[in-house]
Amino acid sequence: MAHRIGRRKNVKKGFQFTLMVVGASGLGRTTFINTLCDADVVPKRECDEPEMAHVEEAIKIKPYTVELDEDGVKISLTVVDTPGFGDMIDNEYCFQEILGYLERQYDDILSEESRIKRNPRFRDNRVHALLYFITPTGHSLREIDIELMKRLSPRINVIPVVGKADTFTPQELADFKKRVMEDIEHHNIPIYNFPYDPEEDDEETIDENSELRSLLPFALIGCEEEIMVNGRKVRGRQYPWGIVEVDNTQHCDFAKLRFALLSSHLQDLKEITHDYLYENYRTEKLSRSAENLSD
């Protein structure tokens, strides 16, 4: 639909991109969103009354839209936050909530497409990518991590990331990333891994994509405050033993991920969502209703 229009028109009009962020609370999800948008998009979590701390809160789906300017290109970014994921004692319910949301957006497109008179101002709310925050245990993937990625990858591009990566020393981080990717392969989870064709694509594309693939899962550190380091202002976290810089690629993969999401791979993520994931859903749904009709 909208994305098929020529590139020049897009640059003027800007791009639209929807990103969902999922992870247990306390992994830096909210801070990441605010750091990504360089603004206070999601309000800081207000901790409820201590007397109510034992009350389990169900997962909520909250979209926020911001207008960004990336090197002259306008991007209308919608970030869908999912507070409450994994916070209950029994979390079986969370997966269905998120899946339901994703499928509802597909349903909306499906019914819109089948209209005789289409709405020109129809808003495409399909989610193009999901960042899943893995808990930095230092061991390997937990049951809830595997379950979530498995259940959602048929409907959305899943990109695993490690939240609060400043909990790891460089060696620990490398080992953890390796084990996580081994787990993902063992359980056959089809994540978005920056696909490229070794035969068709040019060398630059191949290098770019294999580098991004090697960084999976992306190590993230989030920080909204600026502090002074050697006379310059940086976004970072100040510990008694040193300062961690968000934009320093030696410290974390934030900058690389941001560039991939909002510039280099934005189009690819949208195309896969429309040409492949949505098409699969559409086929499944229509064949199901055909079966129901023929009964």
């Binding site: 209950m88 033993w241 810089e245």
Partner: protein, 382 residues
């Protein structure tokens, strides 16, 4: 009261020394329970605390051998430590699987049962006629590791801590504290204490007042630091100013275990070992055990077994496996006996046949003999 004159004492004042000698010889039992999700540094912490590898770190090679059971296990590691000829029988109880699953409902049951079982076991042994060699695995303190989210305690934490606090000396610990900046840490501690108070969770406390000023101040310092933030490390690293310390080396600096500006490890070690180990042991025996004993005695007679409400599914599986093995072995033995019996029968039949053959042979010979005799006698008569 009659008091003896100073300088002409009869030696009563020497009693503490004698007690010291007796206690030194006897050594001590010390049981610590570690509770918390995996990946919070529990194993590293214990190894750092005792400066030796009490528990070997996790291996990842077998994580793909899937065990479908989603249970919380109780793992006991025993070690015997000795310092200046005083021996401690240390038991560290770990709880792998706790908090690790999608559904963690009732996952605290095995832990609670374990603590109660130790009190129960001690109580039973104490009621026996012979009670010299008592095996005492009562838990003297429970370290509850909290994930450093920076927000607040989770519903799961609250559920478990409530139940632990009434049974054992509960000490909350903020794990992997090098992930929190000093301001974040301060806010987090404050919020945790608020929740603990509002939810009526009983944490370990000890009398602050002491005979000397220094001890009182030290005690107040320790209490003020709860919940204790910890960083664990068994490795030696170099700091920027050239010291070699136990710590964690990041690209942006070195977090030191024993630096009190970095974490509360030293205070916690003080509490657990140097100054309050005895209080932890005593309060377990005098308060928690007595509470348990009282509540049990009110409803049960001496010698009556405890009513078990929940059976651990893991034990059921073991029981099944044992039953299967037993049945299998019985079947094998039966088969063996049967084939032996058949062999015997076959043997008997064969022997019977031979016997018959011999018998008919003899009969034939007899008949021949008779016929020969009959043939002979008429000749003789002629």
């Amino acid at each position: 009261m009659v008091s003896t004159q100073a300088g002409a004492g009869i030696g009563i004042a020497n009693l503490p020394n004698q007690r010291h000698a007796i206690a030194s010889k006897k050594g001590s039992n010390y049981t610590i329970l570690l509770c918390g999700e995996s990946g919070l540094g529990k194993t590293t912490f214990i190894n750092t605390l005792f400066t030796t590898t009490i528990k070997t770190p996790k291996t990842y090679k077998r994580r793909f051998n899937n065990t479908a059971e989603k249970t919380v296990e109780i793992e006991i590691i025993r070690a015997e430590l000795e310092e200046k000829q005083f021996g401690v029988k240390l038991s560290v109880v770990d709880t792998p699987g706790f908090g690790d699953y999608t559904n963690n409902r009732d996952s605290w049951m095995p832990i609670i049962d374990f603590i109660d079982d130790q009190h129960e076991s001690y109580m039973r042994q104490d009621q026996q006629p012979q009670r010299q060699e008592l095996s005492d695995m009562r838990v003297h303190c429970c370290l509850y590791f909290i994930r450093p989210t920076g927000h607040t305690l989770k519903p799961l934490d609250i559920e478990v801590m409530k139940r632990l606090g009434t049974r054992v000396n509960l000490i909350p610990v903020i794990a992997k504290a090098d992930t929190l900046t000093p301001t974040d840490l301060h806010k987090f501690k404050k919020r945790i204490l608020e929740v603990i108070a509002a939810q009526n969770i009983q944490c370990y406390t000890f009398p602050l007042e002491s005979d000397d000023e220094a001890s009182t101040r030290r005690n107040m310092n320790i209490m003020a630091a709860m919940p204790f933030s910890v960083i664990g490390s068994t490795e030696d690293v170099q700091t920027v100013d050239g010291r070699t310390v136990k710590g964690r080396q990041y690209s942006w600096g070195v977090a030191e275990v024993e630096n009190e500006d970095h974490c509360d490890f030293k205070k916690l070690r003080q509490l657990l070992i140097r100054t309050h180990m005895l209080d932890l042991i005593h309060s377990t025996e005098e308060t928690h055990y007595e509470n348990y004993r009282r509540s049990q005695m009110e409803t049960r007679k001496i010698g009556e077994p405890k009513v078990k409400t929940v059976t651990n599914p893991k034990w059921k599986e073991e029981e099944e496996a044992l039953r299967k093995r037993f049945t299998e072995q019985v079947r094998l033995e039966e088969n063996r006996f049967r084939s032996w019996e058949q062999q015997l029968i076959a043997e008997r039949d064969r022997l019977n046949k031979d016997l018959e053959a011999e018998h008919s042979h003899i009969k034939a010979l007899e008949a021949e003999l008779e016929s020969m005799q009959v043939g002979l006698s008429p000749k003789q008569r002629k």
